[in-house]
């Protein structure tokens, strides 16, 4: 694939991630846990990781976080979403690269979701200087199982067709 085509496709993915993030912030989740989200943007990041590679996924993840905080206008949320998505991307990369024989896309996505939680809660507890926020982590991880499964399944079907289109 030539360079300009890749550039256009990556910017489309960033726009898609931004749209999904805004969409999911409009969906109220019937969960008790505050701050639990579907993590739809992870579909885009994980698809990029699988179809293109690590560098491209990093670009998409960072740009999506920045454009989302620009769109919603909250600067503090930039730290949370950036740390969470970067940590989850690194975890997903290592699992996908080295352990892909053991875990399917669903497993990779669940690990990404769990590390996203860990990153966000760490940032929250550092910013609030309160270690007790970690008591949210078990509940968040349980919710992550369902959202991560859903995201992994969506990514599986998305990448199946994306790979066909681009002959990668």
């Amino acid at each position: 694939m030539n360079n300009i085509k890749k550039l256009i496709f990556l910017s489309l993915l960033v726009a898609l991630g931004l749209a999904l993030s805004i969409l999911e912030s409009l969906i109220p989740l019937p969960f008790i846990v505050p701050g639990a989200k579907l993590g739809l943007a992870n579909i885009v990041v994980l698809s990029t990781l699988i179809v293109f590679g690590y560098k491209e996924a990093l670009i998409v993840a960072i740009l999506r976080s920045i454009t989302f905080s620009l769109a919603t206008g909250s600067v503090t949320s930039l730290f949370y979403s950036l740390t969470g998505s970067l940590l989850s991307l690194v975890a997903m990369y290592f699992v996908y690269r080295f352990l892909s024989k053991m875990f399917s896309v669903i497993g990779v996505s669940i690990i990404g979701a769990v590390f996203h939680n860990i990153g966000q809660i760490s940032v929250a507890s550092i910013m609030m200087e309160n270690i007790k926020i970690f008591s949210y982590l078990p509940v968040m991880n349980l919710v992550s199982l369902f959202t991560g499964y859903f995201v992994g399944l969506s990514t599986f079907y998305t990448t199946k067709h994306l790979k066909k289109i681009f002959n990668l």
């Binding site: 912030s25 505050p34 701050g35 919603t72 909250s74 503090t76 949320s77 949370y80 352990l99 053991m102 875990f103 399917s104 669903i106 497993g107 669940i110 690990i111 769990v114 929250a124 910013m127 609030m128 200087e129 309160n130 007790k132 926020i133 008591s135 982590l137 078990p138 509940v139 991880n141 349980l142 992550s144 199982l145």
Partner: protein, 127 residues
């Protein structure tokens, strides 16, 4: 789904349950409880529960934002806030020690803190 996926899901469920039970057991040890309000890591208010406090509302105005909390019988909640998503309001009442309401935009945490019984402390130091 491979079998490792299932192991992973099982492991996460197990660790979450263990984590939850640790949090719970930490709660049940305490006897006397009070509310601790923290803004940006600094404790700004400690409120003890009492009959005269039931139904009282307290305004918390800091340079980070505005929150209004209501105190009930051994419980507390946020009823108004100027943060955009109002997750702290949606969370509702908290009553057990160790439970916590967090408002990230306003850097506010409202915790219920439990003090251990006086007897326990003596047991800890006497050999």
């Amino acid at each position: 789904m491979t079998k490792w996926d299932k192991y992973l899901i099982f492991f996460i469920i197990l660790s979450s349950i263990i984590g939850l039970s640790i949090v719970k057991s930490d709660i049940s040890k305490s006897d006397y409880k009070y509310i601790r309000i923290t803004v940006n890591g600094k404790v700004i208010k400690k409120i003890t529960f009492g009959k005269n406090m039931i139904g009282k509302t307290i305004d918390i105005r800091t340079k980070y934002g505005y929150n209004k909390i209501e105190i009930g019988e051994g419980k507390v909640r946020v009823i108004d806030a100027d943060c955009p998503d109002k997750l702290d309001v949606k969370q509702g009442w908290i009553s057990k020690p160790g439970e916590i309401i967090v408002c990230l935009p306003n850097k506010l945490t409202i915790e219920i803190v439990g003090e251990k019984k006086a007897n326990d402390k003596i047991d800890d130091v006497s050999y």
